[in-house]
Structure formats: structure tokens, C-alpha cells
């Protein structure tokens, strides 16, 4: 694969603000900065609730006792004051695989941006498709995880952990879904005879910014929820 690394030329339809930055790019970065606050609040809520999960009622224990362990209540394995064993719901190996998939989708996305900004439409289309596919695989992992948690008894209304976990990861999943739709629209647009037009590099770069942001949010979520023990 030939390599050509240079700063992309300004987009044909560039709309510069008084800062000298394309106003559309500036808007995207302002949006991403505001998204930091959105996810920051959700992560804070999760951390607060995670440290203060009360033990379940006897009815819940009776209903969810499997093989001597209570499932669907705590994120990690734990022993209650009365000696009851609780099995943690988080499945780190599965989530590690989905994290790997999302990281690789970021690599695919940056290669699509490279193709778009260096006049290589075939490369752009191939990597856009790969990014979209990896995004769908990530969503598949999330659906699987939510289904497993539901089967173990954990849902939005089970306890504070369930509520904050599903809201945080659910909103992240919704962002990934929006990203997949944007990638799909780019891919469909690039199939037209005129392609994505003279601004193609800019369009792909903007969607790429969103996609990478979704990836860095997951980097934080993965560490805080899954890797740091309860």
C-alpha cells in the first residue's frame, strides 16, 4: 500500500470563521466538548451508585439463587455479611473482545479519512465499510451483554448499579448506533456517480471525529466499569 502523508488541502467548500478554522469543524469540536460533560455526568453517577449498593431483599435472593450463588445484583463477586455468595455480572473477557473491536474500528476509520483526504476513493470506501462492520459487531456484543444481564436478573430497575450501568452504556451504544448510521450514509453517498463531492475529505473527517470520540468514551467506560474492581 503506497503511503502519502501530507496535511490535507482545505476543503473546496470550506467556511472559515474569524478564528481561521472551518466553522463546521469548530462546531463539531464544540459539540464533542459538550459531550464530555454529558458522559462525565453519567460516569459520575455510576461511580457514586457503584460504591453504595445495598444488599438485596430476601425475595430477590430466593429468586436468583443459582448453584449456591446469587446472580444479577453486584458488578463483581462478593460475600454478604450473612455469608451469602454473590456472583458478579460483569464478563470481562467478552467486553475485552468488544473493546478490541472498537479500537480496531478507530484504526479503520483513520484509514478511511486518509483515503478521503488523499484522493483514494477505493481505500476510503473499503475502510468506511470496515469501520461500519466493526461498529455493528460492537453493538452485537452490547446486545449480547444486555441480554445476559437480563437473564441473570439485572435490569434498569433492579438496583442503583443496574440503573446507572444501563443508562451509561446504553447512551454510549446509542452514540455508536448514530455513528454507524452516519458511516452508512457516507458509504451510500460515496457509491453515487459524483461520490461525496469535492468536500469528501471534510465529510469523512467530521464523521471520523465523532467516531473516535465514541471510542475514547469507551476507553474510559471500559476502565472505570470493567477493569477497576468494585
Amino acid at each position: 500500500m503506497a503511503e502519502a502523508a501530507h496535511a490535507p488541502s482545505p476543503a473546496a467548500g470550506a467556511r472559515h470563521s474569524t478564528t481561521g478554522i472551518d466553522s463546521r469543524k469548530l462546531l463539531m469540536w464544540i459539540f464533542l466538548a459538550s459531550e464530555c460533560l454529558f458522559f462525565g455526568s453519567l460516569i459520575s453517577t455510576y461511580l457514586i451508585f457503584k460504591g453504595d449498593i445495598p444488599f438485596p431483599s430476601p425475595a430477590f435472593i430466593t429468586e436468583h439463587m443459582h448453584g449456591g450463588e446469587v446472580t444479577g445484583w453486584f458488578p463483581a463477586d462478593r460475600t454478604g455479611p450473612d455469608g451469602t455468595e454473590y456472583a458478579g455480572v460483569l464478563n470481562i473477557p467478552v467486553t475485552s473482545a468488544s473493546t478490541f473491536v472498537l479500537l480496531m474500528s478507530s484504526v479503520a476509520m483513520v484509514l478511511a479519512v486518509f483515503g478521503a483526504q488523499n484522493g483514494r476513493p477505493k481505500m476510503m470506501k473499503l475502510w468506511l465499510f470496515a469501520t461500519m462492520l466493526l461498529g455493528i459487531v460492537f453493538l452485537g456484543f452490547q446486545v449480547f451483554e444486555f441480554h445476559e444481564f437480563g437473564a441473570e436478573g439485572l435490569n434498569l430497575s433492579t438496583n442503583q448499579f443496574g440503573a446507572s450501568f444501563f443508562v451509561l452504556t446504553g447512551f454510549h451504544g446509542a452514540h455508536v448506533t448514530v455513528g454507524v448510521l452516519m458511516l452508512g450514509s457516507l458509504l451510500v453517498g460515496s457509491m453515487r456517480r459524483t461520490g461525496l463531492g469535492p468536500d469528501s475529505g471534510f465529510h469523512v473527517e467530521t464523521v471520523g471525529l465523532y467516531w473516535h470520540f465514541v471510542d475514547i468514551v469507551w476507553i474510559v467506560i471500559f476502565t472505570i466499569i470493567y477493569l477497576i474492581p468494585a
Binding site: 469548530l26 459531550e35 462525565g40 457514586i48 478490541f100 486518509f114 476502565t223 477493569l227
Partner: protein, 108 residues
């Protein structure tokens, strides 16, 4: 201020990474994730959380700098994003401090 006169012009012309460099960065991210996983399963006591936070911060910074091209963009965009990030961190600290205090009072 004209486009040419904007301070974006100089910063925007820096060379972006090559395909090979992007792949190497991807490999680095993968390796850091593997190290995180190994650390989370090993018994390293109180060092675990700082190690995981540092590794996660490195991944975050690498993606923002190289994949999102912030290293090659106008410094104004970096300031804008860092402002949002710092504000999010302040919210996190404020909320945790608030609820920790409430919990401490109710436990008296």
C-alpha cells in the same frame, strides 16, 4: 481576520501520520489494552487503580492526538476540547465530594 491571517494556517500544514504510522499506533493501543487486562487480573494491590488510570489516559491521549488529528490542528481546538474535558472532571469531583459528604453526615 482573514483566512490567511488566522493562526490556523500554520498549524494546519503540519504533516499527518502515514498509513504505516497509523497501523503502529493501532498496535500500540492494542498492546496497552492487553497490559490493562493482565494488570486487572494480577494481584498488585493498591497500585492497580493508578496503573489502569495512567494506561487509560495514554490511550485516550493517543487517539485524540493522532486519530482525531488534534496534534496537527489549530491550538484553539485543543483548548476547546480540554476545557470541556476539565469541566467534566470538575463535575465528577464535585458530585463525588457532594455525595461522599452526604453519606458521611448520614452515617454519624
Amino acid at each position: 481576520m482573514s483566512v490567511e491571517g488566522g493562526h490556523a494556517a500554520g498549524a494546519h500544514q503540519r504533516s499527518h501520520p502515514t498509513v504505516r504510522q497509523y497501523l503502529l499506533i493501532g498496535l500500540l493501543l492494542m498492546l496497552i489494552t492487553v497490559v490493562e487486562l493482565i494488570a486487572s487480573y494480577s494481584d498488585i494491590g493498591s497500585l492497580l487503580i493508578p496503573i489502569l488510570i495512567v494506561l487509560s489516559a495514554v490511550k485516550f491521549a493517543v487517539v485524540v492526538a493522532y486519530f482525531m488529528h488534534l496534534r496537527f490542528e489549530d491550538p484553539l481546538l485543543t483548548r476547546l476540547f480540554v476545557f470541556g474535558f476539565v469541566l467534566a472532571g470538575a463535575i465528577l469531583i464535585a458530585l463525588i465530594a457532594l455525595f461522599w459528604t452526604d453519606s458521611a453526615i448520614s452515617n454519624r
